[in-house]
Symmetry: none
Subunit: 453 residues, 4 copies
């Protein structure tokens, strides 16, 4: 038997290959699915079955792509009208070598969510492992706010956890669909895997009865990125197959400009310092590791995207991240990096960057507006800078009208990255006096500056 | 937290890297140990501790090799006279980030065998995982015939299993030292990992009481390959080294500061924009592709070099470039990139960066000194900005006395990179008013600004 | 013949591997020299010679490192007192397969600079290619300012170009030591290689007579980075080693024979069928995946081990397995695989292989002795062929005296691999009538043949 | 400027990427064309143009595939009615950065053959390099027998060589489409590249006047593999795009049998010894490195192909070789290698293998027929074993009727591989007494046995 976990960074998405004999199954594959095929080949196994634990909303599912390449059967929950694959009934069992993969209906995160309970008949009838999708994570549980009926979904989830999952036994290994950093659950721990026993003993959500669980869940404050709706549609209908893809083209500064004039979005993936000191006017700044989490708030699926970096290292990975989010519209990148632009004689825009100490020295300035773009929960839990105003980064584009154009706006987030994104949005929309706080609120605190709660 | 398993095929030997924060430990490493170093590097962690669950007899241990390359401490059971490492007492705890790795004496397979119980203090005091060495395997247990006293060893092993291991709780993940096919245990199942609960319910050896267990074990017919005696000697005394170089260590901001205070040179390999908007005070800026050409002007061969980048991509290539120049003194790099520094509350230095247009608008300012650091031939051939002074970048450190400390110095080169290096030299040497021209003379010309010949 | 160019970016340094037959030479290697070894291995060639065209000043030479790992001879110009290698006289010729590498003194860049003229005797006596070091580049020539006497060096260089190089003929390929961007020559073109004819027609420096050439060179304004002096000292004295292990050498059939006569163990890692139908007399057969389990029974740690395979695929993994077992004595492998042996006219040994059906048809033959070499537990659990005798494969070498030399011995194991190992032991020890059962006891059972318990 | 050569082993096919600025062109791409895209990306270049020097007949061209992935324009000779791309006139020039790629009509090998002359305008108007396709090779020239009018084609080729090519100048680098071992030219030297000057001085074909050239060419004895006609059709019409390909499936022995019964061809890619001692009845033996040269004689494009190896190493490369020949019908491979078959209880076929000494000892046996399957030219040049009969391996299937079924047939080739292929053909077609000579004629000679001329 083999079990391999695949991590899509940024999304903190986990998918799995599980095999026995000459067969293998994949759970919740991502769209760039060669990795599963290669891993199965290395063990001389053929992928015969694919499971979708639920209609994922945070990335483009890869099951249709993988099925097209392997001929495998896609299984998913029967309580949603998927346009591909075959619905699996509760209790249905798929054999993979000596393994039995039994489907359990575990609604909650979504109505059609399923878990997959694995037993190895060669050893015993006892459950060995369970793929829990977005039901149970290490230290946390899945979101219940996506269906519109949070209380109802929470009640269902509690039942799924306590009636379908926990009775399997403490010793069962838990393989969830997400790890720490995912937008699909709050406060997920960074444990790479866990067990039902460990969760029962340590997961705060499992200590609540149904009422308390529902009560807690309805109070949660969460954000739904707009691209989720696109993902939901794609993942219900089956996304388009990946084209034998054209790579993004290297572009001269003149070509980047031409693209921009025809409506392309110039996305600068450098750090806040690099972007701050100089960037292409009108460009947006999402650092390379933040694309999975924030591109879906800011970019559409049709206008070409042009990337700007410093040394153009490992852009393949950046493009792959976009593909996982369904963005097949990355058209090109600035060859030679930003210094090709600054050496081209074209105008250069800049955003001032301050250290926490700089800001502390100017707090008294009445011209100054501090704008906090963190997740509201982080603000509540960690505190804030006195007098600061809040607008979550994902919702900032919709809230620009509430901001004064005549004041000096100092944006900050947790670390400085999202602040730079926010600043780039403001400047691109005509705000002329914008500063990003390097180090964000974390740097502020570590510098020993005063925190309000 | 990260957990990675490494399989040595043929031997069916499993070793593990477990990490948290910026630290990692390795359990039972094999001799070709680059894989652990590479995996730790990928997570920006340093291997600080190595555990030998027992004196392995079926392969050459890699702990001595790995310790030589990383400086990590080797821990092993105290009941054998190892010639290397430090003996660990029962109950001794080693911290790896938020993890506690507690040593439990579990004799049986060998008298000095230990197990390592892992708890994550960030989550709970409950045991999360246990490394069982050759005590407990998936579906089987370790050999007890190697010491000569099979019955005695079997009785000890039974006690270790039932008194030290099983009471940890059903939900504890079990990471053994071998899988199916090993000569270190019979009938090991092919499950890649397991739990105490699953083993309690399915492992035939755990269903026996002490007498029955001993009776069964003494009846086993086993073979001892002659090379085991060589391995036992080597693994007690420490095998010969396959020597090689240490990789640079990931460093916290505090560690970078400490290095700097002890005389290390902090080298920032980002672009002029990133460096300009924020950098570690006193650091030098040579962009990654300029190291081959300019490091030899600026750095000596003895003081440690510490690297600073944004996303720490492909640092291996940077280190290789240094080696080609004879610099074997690259000691470390800032883990998490510059944003770890800006989030640390430490002071941030900055150098203003101007576009050609910015400079053109201030040419008349008598306070301003334009310093051209290009190769003199480039100046002669391509022309210069009227009124600019020349000092080749390589010779700039020797010419600082000729520069006025009270004027605003705008440095430029051909493209902007060497200008940033020059600016970093001046600022590190106490010049307080320094600007770098983005795009350099090339950008100046392309912007259509006046050139003097 | 093979020719590979290696580019060290940043330095724009070119080094070369040139090979023919089973030999290869490296020109101006860099310090991280695994690349040359890997490339030579991919062509089953051994690096026997290294050339330094001059004492390089811009990087640490890799010849000492490479020589330490390969045992190759280092050749350099005789007009400098190098502390390593052997000085080469003008006209001296080194043979690499059918290639002649002739040394030409070409002073100028440095006094001891040499060029290497390559002729392929298998084709013609005409020069085919020349390695020009820092004498001639694409579109440029080397620096002459490093010795202190620029005019003198320039005059020498002009003579080297026009008297030693150009007379070789227009059609000669030019392989220089640097490309565009190097500090070792100005205005080098970005052509990856060139010819004497193309340079004669286009290189501005070649159009000048000696006086004009000298006049132009003395007017050049150049910079000498301070690290050059460190490089010059290191490269004259030999830089410190980055020590590491030697790879096994590709061997001709004659070399394998010589090794064997001096006590080496020839280990054939092919399958039982390949080994059975033909092998090197006296060789032992452990299939590649069985090495971890059985090498420790059969091989010692001192006599060299020579490997034999069919297509020499992935031998690195085989060597790594040996290292894990403490065997650092794998000395070489048969280049070209077993067919190189069978095509060499040397004697070929064979071991008959039978299918289960073949054996079943001859069970009644009283001359026949069936020898079961499985683990005794497998025999007990799965049963045996009636009348068979047992001796565990690991203990077989010690039990040879108990076997009759006058009977036909049919060896079998579980699958056929260990049987072939057993047969190879018997035949190497003088048993003349030995058969291996393909498929082993497993095949016997699956063919429906009678099993005794 | 960059120039990279790509070698398709087995076919000895050379293709090239040549780039300048942000553009690149590919010459004669192969079908698995990711390598060109990756190489262009590494230099931040976009592939804008593709050249086919002629309608290749020995492999599936990759230009259609590459154009589909990059949008590049395909250029080919105008004297054939290609169904894709655009015809290029003599003298037509394509710009790639500062390079001019000029088309020259050079008929001979085929009527529409072109050469591409490269000039770098940034340096000079002199030709720098020429891509010669199948016109001029290192030490040889292209075939002229494929059009049916050998004398006419030879006369055209002579003119192309002497009027279009040689006048470009001795210093021009020559980049041909094939190297040593190709079926597209005889006696090609193994020089990786050459120059017009070196060829003029050493290539025997260039020393002949038109009449002598024609006379020599019409006397050549050559073979045309039957798959050439398929390639010619595909390469004129444009081959199908590669499907997002399904990998071959791992198969059990039972599944291999079922495939075989439904008409699949079982292809054993092991060496002659492995195949000889045991193989699946009815399987054909082409060793892995011989597939490029011999599959096209033996296999069709529709029946599934099932591979058999020992350890299933690097099967990806084997599949890629098939794809280059247009075989998209590799359906599966025997999981576990041949030992899975021999352990399955299924019948095992065998072919006796003799050493040269074995054969020498039985030469007098009148029952024995020696069958030489080498290229007739090798027989003529190197000599033969007295009394042997000749039938070229490629034509053997068509000549089976001429062989006696009642005699002991000993097949030999040069080394032993093609002999094993021949033996496998005979045995699969019902010949019962077949022996393969290990080492072939080469081994015979090296063993000092008598040679007839």
């Amino acid at each position: 038997m083999i079990l391999e976990k695949f991590v899509a960074e940024g999304l903190a998405h986990y998918s799995y290959l599980i095999g026995s004999g000459q067969q293998a199954a994949v759970i919740d594959p991502r769209r760039d699915c060669e990795v599963y095929i290669a891993a199965a080949e290395a063990h001389e196994q053929t992928i015969t079955d694919i499971f979708e634990t639920h209609r994922n909303e945070d990335y483009v599912i890869g099951s249709v792509e993988l099925a097209a390449r392997t001929g495998a059967t896609i299984h998913h929950g029967e309580d949603l009208d998927f346009r591909y694959g075959v619905p699996a009934k509760d209790g249905e069992v798929v054999s993979i070598g000596s393994l039995s993969l039994a489907v359990r209906k575990t609604p909650g995160h979504t109505p059609e969510s399923i878990s997959i309970v694995v037993t190895d008949r060669a050893v015993s009838d006892r459950p060995y492992l369970v793929f829990t999708g977005d039901l149970l994570f290490a230290g946390s549980v899945g979101r219940v706010d996506l269906t519109g009926n949070t209380a109802g979904a929470a009640a269902l989830m509690h039942r799924s956890l306590h009636e379908a999952l926990l009775p399997l036994g403490d010793g069962v290994i838990v393989c969830p669909a997400h790890g720490a950093g995912s937008v699909c659950g709050g406060h997920i721990s960074d444990h790479p895997l866990t067990t039902l026993g460990y969760e029962k003993g340590t997961n705060p959500f499992l200590a609540l009865d149904n009422d308390a669980f529902v009560a807690r869940r309805v109070q949660e404050r969460t954000y739904i990125p707009p691209y989720f709706s696109m993902m939901e549609r794609l993942n219900r209908d089956g996304p388009p197959l990946l084209p034998a893809s054209r790579s993004p083209a290297p572009l001269t500064p003149a070509a980047v400009k031409a693209f921009q004039e025809r409506g392309a979005r110039v996305l600068d993936i450098r750090s806040p310092t690099g972007f701050g000191a100089g960037h292409i006017p009108g460009s947006l700044n999402i650092w390379r590791e933040g694309i999975a989490a924030y591109a879906g708030w800011m970019l559409n699926y049709t206008d070409p995207i042009v990337l700007v970096d410093d040394f153009n290292l490992d852009l393949d990975r950046v493009v792959r991240t976009f593909q996982r989010l369904g963005y097949d519209n990355v058209a090109g990148y600035l060859a030679g990096g930003f210094s090709a632009w600054s050496g081209s004689g074209n105008p250069i825009a800049a955003i001032e960057t301050w250290s926490p100490q700089d800001l502390a020295g100017r707090l008294a300035d009445p011209d100054l507006l501090i704008l906090d773009v963190r997740d509201i929960n982080n603000r509540t839990e960690a505190g804030w800078i006195e007098g600061s105003q809040h607008s979550y980064i994902g919702q900032l584009p919709a809230h620009l009208d509430t901001l004064p154009r005549d004041r000096l706006i100092v944006i900050h987030c947790d670390v400085g990255y999202k602040g730079s994104l926010g600043a780039s949005i403001l400047v691109a929309r005509g705000f002329s006096r914008v500063v990003n706080l390097l180090g964000g609120f974390g740097g502020w605190m570590k510098a020993g500056l005063p925190v309000k709660r």
